[in-house]
Amino acid sequence: MGKTIAEKIFDSHLRDEPFPGTRVVDLDRVLCHEITTPIAIADLVWREKDRVFDRTKIKAVIDHVTPSKDSKTATQAKILRDWAKRHDLTDFFDIGRNGVCHALFPEKGFIRPGFTVIMGDSHTCTHGAFGAFAAGVGTTDLEVGILKGVCAFREPKTIRIDINGVLPAGTYAKDVILYVISRLGVNGATDRVIEFRGPVVDAMSMESRMTLCNMAIEAGGTSGICLPDTTTVDYLWPFIREEYENREEAIADFGKWHSDDDAEYERVLTIDVSDLTPQVTYDYKPDCVKPVNEMVGTPVDQVYIGTCTNGRIEDLRIAATILRGKKIADSVRGIVSPATPKIYNDALAEGIIQVFMEAGFCVTNPTCGACLGMSNGVLAEGEVCASTSNRNFPGRMGRGGMVHLMSPATAAASAIVGKIADPRTFTE
């Protein structure tokens, strides 16, 4: 019987099987941010076990509220900063170099095919785009990861999603994943890895694959995962060129992680996206998804472009294509947050920041901020936000606020109209 990519990664990292069905795996990356790590640090100190298993494999960033907005967030940042310094972590990202974790860490080349990755953040599944097993965990799992370099999981059963056809103009990875979540439901992939396959995924950039994998958790999935290929190697090449003679050799090597043809899947879902239209959420769960034409005209108070889902350069380029030479509606507050300093810098160099500013957007520094209602764009009671983020839970962006999830293109179009709008009317 063949194996899936997730099974191959588990087999190669297996440390222990304390009970049937429980797999304790060695970790290649333990990623940390200032919201969920400080209590793990405090607990390690209290237990007199303030150690790290490997200072080169633990990466840390201050990203959720940065620059700190008050004494409490400053304290969280300080706890992480002091700890990173105390243990001489090889990579710690503070003000000026920090960005949204799930955009920053891949950009630094930290995530490789076949890796096991955990972080105290549910959207860690993003990193599966590189052919890694990457799971969001709680603070206790993070703490044990920091101390011992291991984490326990159940057997990685996999749902394979074959995405066929050709993505029509005006639709993007975000529309695909919203549609997939609407098909699976918010718990349709609980305890499962979601393996994204098919020609549409093969044709996607790494940025798009990250958008796809980012929202695996919104269907309950443990990790999203894509098979590493030429696109993966091209993205990683600056970081791996010392390890391989040439790209072909790297591509061939990464092939060892590919799922076997006779691998066993718990479920295979085949979708054809050739007739897909832009997708938008309604209500308060990410599986409440409608085609944009059923949502057109819904007034919005704020438009937010950014986050670990859609704050990458490709996303900003798409939004800028629609915004170029236009003004956003007077009734709308536009906020764009490039996800990392590099993305910000590239957007500056390409004139994209100027497009946003001339359209009337406020450009913020890289941070998670508004997505979870912590800073930089919290909603008031009764307000509505068109957002490129990943969660529309009640109160997510501020108590009493409403969030509609959509692609950067749909968000940009909605900013211009002041109501949810179909981006295709701006690009055709």
Binding site: F19, P38, F393
Partner: protein, 177 residues
């Protein structure tokens, strides 16, 4: 050290209750578990539910529906229960990270089939429902008043049971790795 389980039940009659409803993100700036205590279930809006009410204050067990604890990985969700002395949740199903966080902290996330969860909900209205949980025998006893008693058998995985017995994943991992 193993925690104590059982006591008055709080019934939350909705599926997909998420971690933002259990503990809103704005409180994630706290750096101690105790500081979370007053904010339990603050943003949960279910008809007749009052997060500041007596039923929440008295509760030692939560009974709820499907996919409980979905969304964020924040362990603040199990912690806000822990500091309010709620050490067990009984639900039809859980989100993976929330379930693991409960067991990692030495607490119980028990799954029962839909019909049995319905039987538990049917006891609401007959006064406070008191729930006893016996981990060794895998038995739950629910009592409402003097007349009404229902029993349920439950199973948790050997690993989850070992975590609860050890007092949590840090203790378990520290002895073994």
């Amino acid at each position: 050290m193993m925690k104590k389980f059982g006591g008055p039940a709080l019934f939350l009659d909705r599926s997909d209750i998420n971690t933002d409803e259990i503990i809103p993100a704005k409180y994630l700036t706290e750096v101690t578990k105790e500081a979370l205590k007053p904010y339990i279930l603050e943003d949960l809006q279910i008809e007749g539910f009052d997060p500041k009410g007596d039923a929440v204050r008295r509760a030692r067990v939560i009974v709820t529906r499907e996919n409980f604890g979905c969304g964020s990985s924040r362990e603040h969700a199990p912690w806000v229960f822990e500091v309010n002395e709620i050490h067990a949740v009984i639900a039809e199903s859980y989100a993976r990270i929330f379930r693991q966080n409960m067991f990692n902290g030495g607490m119980l996330a028990i799954e029962l089939p839909k019909e049995e969860i319905n039987r538990l909900f049917n006891m609401v209205g007959g006064g406070e429902v008191e729930i006893g949980i016996d981990l060794a025998s895998g038995k739950i006893t629910a009592r409402a008043g003097k007349e009404r008693e229902e029993t349920f058998a439950f199973e948790i995985s050997p690993f989850d049971k070992a975590l609860v017995e050890a007092g949590g994943w840090v203790e378990f991992a520290d002895q073994r790795y």
